[in-house]
Symmetry: C2
């Protein structure tokens, strides 16, 4: 496929694929490759022994949550024994925030496109000392058990008794409500809860269960995040596999390596050391506490949200330590690095301009500057949790390497067809 046609086809899929909320279910029941002996993690695949400290913390807490180990210490021993196999969540159609651990009992959001393509993301635990940021506290484990035993089944029942929720439409409305649907999700969280509230009150096991679910959901400003991420993953999957296309369909980080996959480059990961960025730290933390980037949530940037929609969400600046003016600069840059404009993700504050979509490795290589994304930042040590959030410039190298690989691939294909 000639380059421009391939780009156009990819951008069209990014722009047109609609996603719907299907349910919430235990990961082991819906994701292939998750089982008692195999968990998933965020980012490109990790070699045994590479697992970074906060991800080890998350894994240990989840081994206790799953009942495989009695204590966190036992869990560390099990991890060291190599008895647990790990795989990249992205390769299984899943996306997890920060450590992004997916285990069989972990409740995940299930999202589907009109043609039945599915993706998954673990329900969000809230902010602070939570497992995805490496915390191992009893309170965090107890909370995840409650999410599995009451929150998830109640949400599943409510979703089953609610008119279909189009998540891509909610993301578009989110931009009209000051969210960028990656690190600012307050208005979208409220909107989604409102869509489900009547069914939650009707379908919960008891009145008090309904109240607990509604309290937990409404108190979590990131309730919408896994819904947004799984929606983005479905859209990105639809855009993957266009021959010759230089458009990025995955960006994620495992705390060691940041990696991308490209529509026209098959299953190959292009990686570089994970960036640290300059996070805005919570009170009591210093820059040295910050772990290099971890998580699959950059998938939202792949479909035109997050940093691509930064000017829709100026109020995020208080969380990320940026300014509204900086937000506009970031979006201008993303515009130079992308192949098209969204026809549905519109920024009213920018006179309804569509957000930049389709990060194009050829353009990134030509401009010589890495795209931005925004992310939560974990403590460098296991067991500590979140220390801040950042607007992070992603490393250039993977994009340059992908552009080169794509050119070689096309050259080889051209030679083959002669």
């Amino acid at each position: 496929m000639p380059g421009s046609v391939a780009v156009q086809a990819t951008v069209e899929r990014l722009d047109q694929t609609r996603t719907f909320l299907v349910g919430v279910a235990p990961a082991g029941e819906v994701i292939q490759g998750v089982g008692t002996g195999r968990y998933l993690h965020a980012g490109p695949p990790l070699e045994p022994g590479e697992v970074p400290a906060p991800m080890r913390g998350a894994l240990a807490a989840i081994l206790v949550f799953e009942g495989r180990c009695a204590t966190v210490e036992d869990a560390y021993d099990l991890l060291d024994s190599g008895a647990l196999e790990l795989g990249s969540a992205n390769e299984a159609g899943a996306v997890g925030a920060v450590a992004g651990i997916v285990s069989p009992s972990m409740p995940v959001v299930v999202v589907e496109s009109e043609n039945g393509r599915r993706a998954f993301s673990p329900l969000n635990e809230g902010l602070g000392r939570v497992i995805r940021f490496g915390a191992t506290d009893d309170a965090a484990i107890t909370r995840l058990r409650w999410m599995r035993d009451e929150l998830a089944p109640t949400l599943a029942a409510a979703i089953g008794h609610t008119e279909p929720v189009e998540l891509t439409a909610m993301q578009a409305e989110g931009l009209r409500r000051g969210d960028e649907c990656h690190n600012r999700n307050v208005a979208s969280s409220a909107a989604l809860i409102c869509r489900l509230a009547a069914a939650i009150s009707e379908r919960a096991a008891s009145t008090s269960a309904a109240a607990r679910v509604l309290t937990a959901a409404t108190e979590n400003p990131h309730f919408f995040l896994p819904f947004s991420m799984a929606s983005a993953k479905v859209v990105a999957l639809a855009a993957h596999g266009v021959p010759g296309s230089p458009v990025v369909t995955t960006m994620s980080s495992n705390g060691v390596r940041f990696g991308i996959r490209v529509s026209g480059c098959g299953d190959t990961w292009f990686t570089a050391p994970a960036p640290v960025g300059e996070p805005k730290l919570f009170d009591g933390f210093v820059q040295a506490d910050a772990h290099p980037a971890m998580g699959d949530s950059f998938i939202t940037e792949c479909i035109g949200l997050g940093a691509c929609a930064f000017n829709a969400a100026p109020a995020i600046s208080s969380f990320l330590g940026t300014s509204p003016a900086q937000g506009r600069v970031v979006v201008d840059l993303m515009g130079r690095l992308t192949a098209g404009r969204s026809s549905r993700f519109l920024v009213p504050y920018d006179d309804y301009a569509g957000t930049p979509i389709g990060i194009d490795v050829t353009r990134v290589a030509q401009e010589g500057i890495g795209p931005y994304a925004n992310n939560g930042v974990a403590h460098r040590e296991a067991g500590r949790g979140q220390v801040g959030a950042a607007l992070t410039q992603l490393p250039l190298e993977p994009f340059v390497a992908a552009a080169r690989a794509l050119a070689e691939r096309e050259q080889a294909a051209g030679a083959g067809s002669r």
Copy 2:
């Protein structure tokens, strides 16, 4: 009090008064001057015989709702007999959207300041063929009965079992979520419902009642409007009565006359014929269908919301037929007509500038241009309902008359003190 000191004192009260949601109750139990023989209406006081057609429709529907008349026709006869006394809602501490009828059983939102000053506004029925826009349909009356019998008691119980809700803080957050808290309330409605949802599910008479209440509340994009209006009225009341102050503390319209009251001018209304504006009409209506402005919701403009916060809510343009650029022009104009800037109502899209607060009749008279407000528009005939919405330039005359009256008052006071 010297003019500049009076202005500063008034602006401070507009800027500092915090409001809290106290409850939802039948108007007859909480508002003085509402009874079986006396209802309230929007705008300055009306003479008998002046009541405009849509307000007559609303009154007739409400007489049926109250059980005083069996049919709408009987109700028109009762109105013609003069047996029902009418009063201005604003003079009783209440503010009602459009026709703004307040009757004894009408459920009203109750809002209070820290020092116990209270204001009231009828719960919102939704959009379209609703009573406040003059509709008299059985469906609209049945709906209002349901609001009285199930929605209002459930909300009252939920509010009583929820941590205090600061409405001025929700209005400030609304601006960060793309609302201006007058004609765009979608995000604030969702936020308020989320605050109450757990208590609604726990305190409703039954699971199905909770589901009905949550469904009605979440399907109404203007659910928050009466909460916003009553909050604004409390703030404006706190700013009223500062000797010598030229700051507007009431703007409202009864479909015949638009009127204002001014902090330093006591109970005097300054009026002019109600403006029609150039509404964006719903499909199937023409300009000639539009009734001149009606309603007390301009109270939100008095405290720095609505048209004063238009640039916070660019997505409102699709509803009002305006553009984001026009929104900025409107706010610039309001800045020229006001005495100060809000320290809490900040517009992130405008680098966190405070909204203009304290419409100053002296400045309006000097500039020679009326302030803007935005409003819903009723059909000219009774029984028809809403036909559209508008950004409306308010008539200049009342502001000029008030400026003159204030000058005369000050002169007289000065003469008296010599």
